[in-house]
Symmetry: C2
Subunit: 684 residues, 2 copies
């Protein structure tokens, strides 16, 4: 270990810092040790920057973690969450008591192994999967600028906060962070300030093993303001303070490289060994002795340390009070805007929004459902000002830019309502999580359905984190045709249907597309994936927006139907045609349109049994793998391989998505069950 | 449109270049027009660089697209594949005739909408999903250096080729490319040369909309050698030629920014309009006139243009002949190495490799299956020199670095057999696709199972492209415990099981882990995902490696079993215990270990019926969502939500993965079907 540089002159302020910082470090060691699980290294290394942020830099109110104008803090290296819980506790958030720290990583505790926004008040976004937090922060920062542009008036800046991030090497190696940070530079998000815990260590060991790039130069290339602070372990915080002050004046997003030693104070400081396991008891003893603390005491917070942070709690109450006074003035001057702002804070939609949705009849022109989606988005964007759209460079294909949001959100125009995300699917999804987590915005974003595979890490977190993000995923199947199997999803519906708390809808026509938005928009506690087609979907008799909310419904029927044909999207029209052909052959068939598994599963058993009565064989028809359909159907017309390049209609036929094949399979199914089909319902 | 710069002096060479280049451009316009679908812009813009590469730069043999020492070419902007097909045709590959060009993007043609390595000889990797190709190329370049280090001897460089890439803006915006290129710089892959078609246009319009970063500076930050060529549209190729020559001498990977105009020659050149739709017929007329070609002729290749490229075909034969002579010398001097080299080219494993796998008994110490995996990898790495391991910075958790591959692959040691991928899951998977596509290497790579969501774009392409990549995915369920729901996969098994041509195995104990490798390693035409646990899996009586290859098998049985308990991984031991408890309660139960859906589906119906006989209710027990299980089981003990942070054993119990609950559910199921359970087999 190289010799430690001489301690700075111990002014009173520095001495106080040191006491607070070492208390945080010792608490981190105790918290992880007690749990016998977790990551002490990063909390101990990041204690000085955390102390500075919570003591002097950030505006927040522990008494109201949801105060709209708080600075947003994101711990992108979420494994360091002991640090975040400690700061929440010290500054007096009700959500984290000392007992909660002692229950770190225990079942049902307030202090899970990675920060969970939906579980612990004061946590803005769920982090841990690396690169996500810093990307969420880009969304938080976009949200701030956009809402400021929309609401702020001269002298009445009701939206005016910063977004602070702590991140480690891991986050900066992740592609999702590269995408988001490139866009953040392009958009010149000056109020985004990232403290990079530059400690030369990752799980595998030294960053020299895999990460020798010049991170600062890379961020400069993105258009960021980059600074370095060489004494990140020190209790003399003046350099870090100055860097943050400078960052605040920059019109670019800021990266501050803060040189630290992971696990500062441990006998293993500066090594990967201190990353992911508790310190040995004797290491904690020597650490506390080195820090001048009593090694016999655990979870010890000196009174003056509590007193220091509780001042910030009192100050937080004052900050919100001041803001409330400002908002009262604002309300008096701009009552309509103020009431809209209040509505946004509650996440409520404007009254009557559903009425703007277009209605379709069988005479309406048949289009791909992506075009019906565009037709829905037009009036929705008009009526719901909090919709902020965008696409990962597929705008003309996704039909997501409509009259009403044609102006791009940009550094020059923060009021623009369309984000050009570039070819950055993962970054886009992570940014949308940040936009939704901020509040005041309902983000929708778009790419091809197959490229869900590029952003699944963030899509999963939308669902886990209960965020209202609307994914407009077009080109939903082999029906897209010529682009071929690299672009044709065959498994993606199964992928997204498997995600807990994900609403997945694949509408069959115009009315069902309107219904898909009716389901997605009011859903405050989770995301929705809308799967739209490139291929034409005629408008079918009997569809309606409202019925989509049931998940599945009888579209057409015959007395004593011998078979039920069901499917989603463009295959519903095929089922209708096949049912007609069966009728012509003297076989009565029911057609069930099935746009959403999860919505159907929310229905009561009586309704479900009315749609799929016992004994009637069910043939599902979907240009997707069968996985998931066995729960509902006795036979499947499905994809068993990847698709092929060719005109969409020919590809459909090639893989058996044609009337003849569906009729043949329906007949086979009827013959296979002379005594009625088996009951697929289960006891639990 | 700005005025075109003056034409360079028309030397004979330049005139010839121009004729070739314009022929390529016109062919691209005709090909896309005839298909009435596709992307003319990039092929027309990239025609000069393609002409130079195929005419003067690259070593290849159209008569043998699989010649091992060929330069590898990757079209990372795969939508430009008309260009690649045209070059294959002009240089005389059998795989692409003129008729094939005329059948571009038609069903079952040799010329699908994006390049497919498994479909068209001469295509190295399947591209189109942006960022993948350039990342595959990093793998191709690693493979070359590694095989060179292994096999080359003084004066006998049997492995000595370059990897060339053409890519566009889209590829460079993708995070997967950022990850791979950062690693490529770190690894100093000097024989990787990327031509960046820098045309300021993406689908959405100008790159100014979303992509204003300094790409060159970013790549310098990664450690790349960066050059610019300002006249990428010119037939005077001297600048590009010089840049490539210089790139070849650099010990760093090279990026050459080539300024071009998309759709060069079209009336819409330089705009996004020319990206993804055929040119209008009248536009093609004016283009051919401008180029001095007959506008009445379509798919026209002047004789001297053919003659020019066919010289390269002849030269290719000579190149391989020379190499064969070299290899003969090599064989004489190093017969064993030579025979190993030949074995690798065939993709065959060394004889007797299976015998090295460890065997376990119920007395063997119980461990997480990740540890059994480590115990298998030890002898496998010893026996199979072509195994090249790695992890995305989770080496100590993935148990992937073992005796035999402890030396890191690095710029300093190309013979090292362990790649430190850094926290770059998507890049890692894409690089492994390149390693596998190169030949001579079997890559395995590792992360946590849940982070499949970070790399699914590349994982899908492993399967589509039929590449032998082995994914070692540990921490397979809520059983990982304290890290909590951000790290606990609950849907990921369903995600990967839905992927066509993906082999997915979740073994129950040591012997099944050995069986998982027995299935994965010989699989030449596709990838395998191995899901391993952190939680302890005791070694069970009755398991064997060979039985894993059946996908599912009877682990324990009772005469006239009233119920079948089945599951995978750590839940098999739970099934065994529950069966014992049922027996104690007088209820006979069979236990079926079910490590792999896809392997079971490969078995004949008699075998399948012997495992799951008609009428006996099946209860599946897996700490994963039920999706997919309804095909085999009548009831499911499964996850219906995300997991929770807490000690793994407690989390398991909390979600019902305990003997009491399994016994209770089994009894319920038996009671629910007094007359036998319904038959789940279907007529098709
Ligand atoms: Ca680090
Ligand atoms: Ca471009």
């Amino acid at each position: 270990m190289p010799p430690r540089s001489k301690k700075p002159k111990m002014t009173e302020a520095i001495a106080k810092n040191e006491k607070c910082i070492n208390t945080i470090r010792a608490l981190a060691a105790d918290t992880v040790r007690k749990a016998n699980s977790g990551h002490p290294g990063a909390p101990m290394g990041c204690a000085p920057m955390a102390h500075l942020l919570w003591s002097e830099v950030m505006n927040y109110n522990p008494a109201n973690p949801k105060w709209s104008n708080r600075d947003r803090f994101v711990l992108s290296n979420g494994h360091a969450c002991a640090l975040q819980y400690i700061m929440l506790h010290l500054t007096g958030y009700d959500s984290v008591s000392m007992d909660d720290l002692k229950a770190f990583r225990q079942l049902n505790s307030a202090t899970p192994g990675h920060p969970e926004n939906f579980h612990t008040a004061g946590i803005e976004v769920s982090t841990g999967p690396l690169g996500q937090g810093i990307s969420n922060a880009v969304g938080l920062a976009i949200a701030e600028t956009h809402l400021a542009a929309k609401f702020n008036k001269d002298g009445l800046d009701i939206v005016d906060h910063h977004t602070f991030v702590i991140c480690g090497d891991g986050c900066l190696q992740e592609g999702v962070a590269s995408e988001s940070c490139s866009l953040a530079g392009h958009l010149q998000l000056g109020k985004l300030i990232v403290l990079y815990d530059d400690n030369d260590i990752t799980i595998d060991g030294s960053t020299e093993l895999s990460f020798s790039e010049d991170v600062g130069k890379r961020f400069q290339a993105y258009g960021w303001h980059v600074q370095s602070v060489d004494n990140g372990d020190s209790a003399d915080l003046s350099k870090l303070q100055a860097a943050i002050a400078k960052a605040k004046t920059s019109s670019s997003p800021s990266l501050i490289k803060v040189k630290t030693r992971i696990g500062f104070g441990s006998q293993m400081e500066g090594t990967a060994k201190v990353h992911g396991s508790p310190l040995a008891p004797e290491d904690i003893v020597q650490l506390k002795q080195k820090f001048g603390m009593d090694p016999e005491k655990f979870f010890d917070v000196p009174e003056d340390v509590y007193a220091h942070f509780h001042e910030r709690k009192d100050q937080g109450v004052l900050l919100e009070k001041e803001w409330n006074a400002l908002f009262d003035k604002y309300k008096a001057a701009y009552p309509e805007l103020a009431s809209d702002f209040e509505r946004l804070q509650k996440g409520e939609l404007p009254a009557g929004w559903e009425d703007t949705l277009p209605k379709f009849t069988p005479e309406s022109k048949g289009e791909g459902t992506r075009k019906y989606s565009g037709a829905c988005l037009g009036p929705l964007v008009d009526k719901i000002p909090e919709l902020l759209g965008g696409s990962a460079d597929l705008t003309p294909s996704n039909n997501t830019r409509v009259k009403g949001n044609e102006i791009n959100y940009s550094a020059a125009d923060r009021g623009g309502r369309y984000v050009r995300y570039g070819v950055r699917e993962h970054g886009m999804a992570a940014i949308c999580n940040g936009l939704a987590a901020h509040g005041g915005i309902i983000p929708y974003c778009a790419t091809f359905l197959v490229f869900t595979g590029y952003c699944l890490g963030s899509v999963r977190l939308s669902a886990l984190s209960k965020l209202r993000v609307i994914y407009v995923m077009t080109h939903d199947s082999i029906g897209l045709g010529e682009d071929g199997p690299t672009h044709q999803p065959v498994e993606t519906l199964a992928t997204v249907r498997a995600i807990p708390n994900m609403n997945v809808i694949r509408p069959a026509d115009g009315n069902e597309t309107a219904g898909a938005y009716m389901s997605a928009l009011p859903r405050q506690d989770g995301p929705t994936i809308l799967a739209f087609s490139r291929q034409t979907c005629p408008n079918l008799p009997g569809t309606s927006a409202e019925k989509v909310l049931k998940g599945a419904y009888i579209l057409s029927d015959e007395p004593s139907a011998k078979v039920i044909l069901t499917g989603s999207g463009s295959e519903v029209a095929l089922c209708v045609k096949a049912a007609e052909a069966l009728k012509a052959a003297g076989i009565a068939a029911r057609v069930v349109s099935f746009p959403s598994f999860n919505l159907f599963e929310d229905q009561d058993s009586a309704y479900r049994a009315s749609v799929f009565p016992k004994g009637v064989p069910v043939l599902s028809v979907e240009a997707s793998v069968a996985q998931g359909w066995h729960k509902y159907s006795h036979g499947q017309v499905c994809m068993k391989s990847y698709g092929k390049s060719g005109p969409g209609g020919e590809v459909f036929k090639h893989f058996g998505f044609n009337v003849d094949n569906v009729v043949e399979k329906a007949k086979k199914l009827i013959d296979f069950y002379p005594n009625g089909a088996p009951d697929l319902s289960a006891p639990f």
